[in-house]
């Protein structure tokens, strides 16, 4: 019988635009995942808060097999604050490098929308 290495599960890092605290984002995402798919699924998805880039950009991590369902939950959270998924990546390094560019674009967009309001 061939010897195989025990491989660690694959992860995906999600960059989210959310106008509140990271803890609230994580609890809202967990809550919605439980609401939509159940407790077992939410536990298996192993959602974790990884980073915060600037005031509104958050990075959360999940298992790659459950990415579709986590994206659905993220899309459907919130009545007061809703979350916008900006990017998904397999490595944190590439996500961070892309997030720096996106951060500048978003800040420019938000400044123009706030001046219009």
């Amino acid at each position: 019988m061939p010897v195989t290495l025990k491989r660690r599960y694959k992860r995906r890092y999600i960059l989210v635009l959310y106008r509140s605290s990271s803890e609230e984002l994580l609890s809202m995402t967990r809550g919605k995942t439980v609401n939509m798919f159940g407790y077992v699924f939410a536990q298996k998805a192993s959602l974790k808060l990884i980073d915060k880039i600037g005031p509104d950009l958050h990075v959360i991590r999940c298992r790659s097999e459950f990415l579709g369902e986590v994206l659905c939950a993220l899309m459907l959270i919130g009545n007061e604050h809703s979350a916008v998924v900006l990017d998904v990546s397999g490595t944190l390094r590439s996500l961070r490098s892309r997030a720096v560019i996106k951060k500048d674009v978003i800040e420019a967009i938000l400044s123009t929308t706030s001046t219009k309001c």
Binding site: L17, K32, N35, M36, C72, L74, M75, G78
Partner: protein, 149 residues
């Protein structure tokens, strides 16, 4: 960049910009002027009316902002509804249109999330986007537009 305007009423004269006429009242199914019909609540009568609708290639719009307002059982019902409307529209030559319904930057939905929602509803994202593109091209190209002076 080409922007498609959403209008509540069909303009009396030809326009310089592409547009779609929208409505949120499903009794407008009988009207030939409506291109896109937004639905929130649905019953058996809707399906009957859609079968008898005079204009084929009608867009049936479901917004994510409406889905966001629901939770639990109602949300599950809405997901089943998207699936049933998709198969129904395919059968009768209409088009399902999923939109964000966003009124601000913070309510926008990315393409990847739409794909995830479509997969959740057992709809192949590739076939959905191709049919939506064909439907939009058909709707925009069937009209005469005034030339820019």
């Amino acid at each position: 960049m080409k922007v498609i305007h959403l209008l509540r009423k069909k303009p009396l004269a030809s326009t310089t910009f592409p547009y779609l006429v929208t409505s949120d009242n499903y009794h407008d199914l009988a009207s030939k002027n409506v291109d896109l019909l937004e639905i929130t609540e649905i019953d058996q009568q809707f399906y009957e009316m859609l079968k008898q609708a005079p204009s084929k290639k009608l867009g049936i719009e479901i917004t994510v902002s409406n889905l966001r307002a629901t939770g639990g059982q109602k949300l599950a019902k809405n997901v089943a509804l998207i699936k049933s409307i998709h198969s129904f529209t395919e059968k009768y030559g209409n088009q399902l249109v999923l939109t964000s319904g966003a009124s601000s930057v913070f309510e926008m939905v990315s393409g990847r999330c739409f794909d995830a929602l479509l997969k959740l509803c057992d709809i192949k994202p590739e076939t959905y986007w191709i049919s939506l593109n064909n439907w939009l091209e058909h709707k925009i190209n069937m009209r005469c537009y005034a030339c820019d002076a």
